[in-house]
Symmetry: D3
Subunit: 281 residues, 6 copies
């Protein structure tokens, strides 16, 4: 079992609802799970631990409370942090300070993408701004019939800089829609999110969505962890490169990974119609 003490962070509940499955819940419901700086630093710490934790094979990411996955950045906290930070009147020095801050913040959110284990994100209720940045760093996105999405950043005078604008065009096929939602900041629902490809399933409500997410997480956790880790890694590698490069990397990767005992175990248990067990990774 994962060591619960390793995941004891303010603003997060980390639980282990099924074998090899972790559930990370953002827990600041009274503020609609809006993010302060400590929260993205802790998010990163949690996903770095999960990445190498041998007792974890898949992860569910949700937001506490009925109202919001997350309302995004806690603007009040942010304005007293990000913008007031560099105490200088020199625009270049301010720029250096802002750049360091953005890069650090991006790194925190990217730790979900870099986590070796697949992450399923359940978006319910208000899912604004940072909610989009975060969900795009996850592998799989589900939502509910009442989810309200918004790429909110232009409404507060900035281009989204924690990942949304870089990941959207590589996550969703309809680029007219990508530009429409990013330039207008308008709120849209799960119907559009499903139609245009931001989520792959819409469930009736949060409860069902979390259950379905957990079911999928459990299914993935039942597979060979070698196969699952490679699948995530190779898709992410290939997404960013040409097909020829993707094929070549796959060959280098599987040159090691096909030597796993898991293949024999998986094939045998497949023939015997029983569930295979795989050793830790």
């Amino acid at each position: 079992m994962a060591n619960v003490a390793d995941y004891n962070y303010e603003f997060y509940n980390v639980t282990f609802p099924a074998e090899y499955v972790a559930h990370v819940e953002i827990n600041r419901p009274e503020k609609m799970n809006a993010f302060k700086e400590i929260m993205w630093l802790n998010l990163s710490a949690i996903f770095k631990s999960l990445s190498h934790d041998p007792s974890i094979r898949s992860i569910l990411l949700t937001g506490a409370g009925p109202r919001a996955f997350t309302a995004g950045l806690d603007v009040q906290a942010a304005s007293s942090g990000q913008l007031s930070a560099p105490p200088t009147s020199d625009a270049a020095r301010k720029a250096v300070g802002l750049r360091r801050h953005i890069l650090e913040f991006q790194d925190c959110i990217s730790s979900i993408e870099k986590c070796e284990k697949p992450v399923i994100c359940i978006m319910h209720g208000i899912s604004y701004g940072l909610a989009i940045d975060m969900c795009l760093s996850c592998d799989i996105r589900f939502s509910t019939e009442t989810t309200q999405f918004s790429v909110k950043e232009v409404d507060i005078g900035l281009a989204a800089d924690i990942g949304t604008l870089s990941r959207l065009p590589h996550s969703v096929g309809n680029h007219s829609w990508v530009k429409e939602i990013a330039l207008s900041a308008r709120i849209f629902g799960s119907d559009e999110a499903l139609q245009h490809g931001l989520v792959s399933r819409v469930l009736p409500d949060k409860k069902t969505a979390v259950e379905e997410g957990l079911k999928l997480a459990s299914l993935i956790a039942s597979k060979s962890p070698v196969a699952v880790m490679g699948t995530k890694e190779i898709i992410n590698y290939s997404r960013d490169r040409s097909i020829a490069d993707g094929l070549n990397y796959t060959a280098a990767w599987n040159a090691a990974m096909l030597q796993t005992q898991d293949m024999k175990d998986a094939m045998l248990s497949g023939l015997q119609k029983r569930q295979a067990t795989f050793s830790k990774l």
Copy 2:
């Protein structure tokens, strides 16, 4: 206000239907807005001016008349231009002449993409060949229930070379459909265009579509022009590169742009539930 005299070109009506919004209408309805060389040269001139015009924040692109957004290249004009151009029997020298011509033509169409301000394209009626090249250089695409699309070029014996084949696989998610329409030149309607991701909205008719396009253009024009310009730029940059590169560029970009007064104004007016005003860009 934009200076109308700056936009006085044959075959185009350029108007300013709302604050900070330009409306560029291709105006050769008697030929179904088919393009002669002077028309793409002028298109480029118009979009280069709009790009730096501080009184413009978003742009609507439409075709005059009820029948066509554009029927594409004016083949008669083209054959007396493009193909007859290099008066030589040496195939290599002909190739050099053709290449110069193609590059220049591509540059004209790409000036829509390079324009700093978002461009919304309304496709109605006949939208063939160059219509597809042009709309893919725009940011957002709407169509009507009777739009007839076709990647027409193979029907006149050539692979589309002004942008369609380069931009389609980066604009639309279903690559089986991309190949199907490009290899068959078959006519398809808005249902397919929406389903597979070429447009993000289908409106009942041209009038409604132009109204909706104008509404969206006005909405975008009401936002911080710093945020809007950055959003277009970063999405375009990221579309062509890896996510890591996109994130890094975003940090460099926003190091300057987060220093804008617009952020404070936007946040404050958000809290006060009123419309912010932003200084010119």
Copy 3:
């Protein structure tokens, strides 16, 4: 006419059902068209021949029998081949052997993509594992109402390595769905395949799908082969690169190809509302 003797391979029926059209049928129906090593070697030989065969302008790829396009790799054959191959206990030497094997296998499947002529794939019945690798190497994908798809590889303990993981994120827009099907290995149907963009048409049954595929192949074969070859090549080139690179390559390509007689013939026959004929390529 293509020389039938050139295409006489075990496990394949290659026929020429229409002018300039080849039909490649995988023919091992008693094993649900599961692949042994000789089959992918022969597949490659066939597509290399077709690529330069002047009597062929488009290709249909199907599986024999009512039950399966292909059930994928013949695991029994594979385990006695791929995995037992390197007779060494040194993990690095095993890795070198496996890498050579994977690269060779990838090359065989990629010969469909590298074939100069468009390939339409009809997926019916069981379409597991290698079926997905293969169809993604084709240009156009149709399926039937009863097709059962699965990215099966994680179920046998490996990350798919013959192309699926490299090509999926460049073929389908919804990356949440891409990860969902690749990580879960779950079986899905044509409704999902169409909705999320893996296929561009779903036909009622295999017979209709093959007929429609043949119709489309015939339509493409009626076009200028210079235009068709360029269209496939430029889309594939552009898919893997930036739009600027795609435009530049297009200009170099068409500098030669616009000198074809086909353009005059196509335009003239278009004006005369008759079918053009084009010389061999």
Copy 4:
């Protein structure tokens, strides 16, 4: 012959010292050929004309007077231009103005690189700042025994932004030296420039260097212009991309260019030990 009237610009002498050869001389010797804005705009105009001028096959670029190739940017002019330009106190709006200015300036200097004909640069005397940006946009660099080079920009408080920092690491093999000269702004001579690969020849003095440059320009101008143009284009393309991409582009390029009559003429005159003549390009 080239039309002299086409090249009549203040601050430049453009002459035609040999058949098919243009000589562009920067002509502001009383200010050590320091650049004002009009000078780089005109430089761009000149090279755009030369690029397509059929009477030109190679180009020599030099600076007038005994003292300097160019001392770089005319800082006085620049400070009244570049920096005072955006009349705003908003750092983001200033940034937009500066970015437009830099991009335009870069484009002017890049027009040397984009010119279809090879450009040989003779660097004598003071060669500071913009001198390095410009010479790196040329194809071939010669210097004299007394040339004084400096990547001067850090000494005026900025990172060089008109091309030096982007082109140096792709022009010179010793990256320790690249960083050393760029970070220290120290003055170095032709011995280092030759040893580390910034120039390919050092001549005793300006007169000899111009003569040798002219000799080389004449030699290049005597070759097939189809071959010469392709050689410049393919090297530039390949420098920025992988070898596999370079090979593929070469094949597309030469598919047209090998059809030239020049090949037969060149081979025949080679066998006959006489000078071939090639038709205009």
Copy 5:
């Protein structure tokens, strides 16, 4: 002044020999500065601190004692660490463990490259294996007349994996020599290192080399830190990308950085022939 307490690590002496200059000395001379795991972890910690330390503008990296910059990895320590780590007989699981280990080790060495301030490396005496990985992560490399270099890794049965093989072809122009030294592991001296471009200066002995390194570090530290940081960043960015991409990034970068007060101060002090002072960064 930098806070000395921040840089108190075993096996390192960090001193501040001149204004804004840090000197990092690897301090395990009794073992020829061979690296144990704790040493690269601490190296990374030091350079991460220096990167954002406003009292530091350039860095010198040397090895303690007369015999070696570093003899490379402490093989004894490594074999008890790296290879014994994953307690499993499954080759795939071993591979996952090794990959994590390599990536972490690479990250430590890359922290020199990612450090915002330029790093000058002085290589004296034995400079084997990891010495090459490390020096290539630095910006500027000096050596002495008796330095002995070797890309040692093939001699212990592996391909160098902490950076040498990735950075050498981007640091040195002569690729025949790159392959020769990497494939043969032969020892070579400073004459070759200078001739082929691995170092930019060879000094008589360690003492002189450190003095010259310090002089250069002081010179760089006297420049605008905004200009210096940008110069390092843009060269590194451009080295890995096309020239067009480099130019575009430079424009985004300098849009902020040209707003610095340093430019005015640098220009003014240049005119007044005095040393400028720049505020902290």
Copy 6:
């Protein structure tokens, strides 16, 4: 031992002068080793065999006779092959034929680069045209005091298309020199080749050069073949990509390769100062 019968090709002598070393001699001295089509096809066959031959670990490539490594393409043979090939007057169809021919020819020469084992090339005497293409596909280049090099292609009216123009800018640091030799086709000697980085050693004469090449080949062949193969592969991979990509690939590669017994054997024999023996690869 390698099976001599496997390497029995007209125009080549393949011998095995030392353990694990192959010597490939181009053998058409009466024509100065000029290449006919069959020769490059056979060259490719030889290197494909050597690539996987477990009894070979390094390769020497030389030309027979005292006069030439190779004088390049046999122009007479080429003109009756390459150019007369496509019997059509349609420039586009000719282009398709030429492109297929170029791609096939490039693939043959690239088989040297793709060969898993390092290849050392000895260039003596006349080394024109194809000689440069070929040597750049090798890993290490030596020449003699009388070698005459020329990138000859512009003299016969074409841009070199079998690899020279794509590989030169990635093999040699001085790009001014690269353009100078490629645009002028002038003959140059070993002094320039060494100074600018085309070769890494110049030996007095062919005999000494072959001996030194053999010595180096033997040295490389004495190392772990796992380490040597990885070193070639990773340098080639990294040369074409960013440093970050190179590092990531190295980690995937060595995750398998560090599991080799060779590491223990190499370290142990290093400590015991004796020659290790490694099992076949």
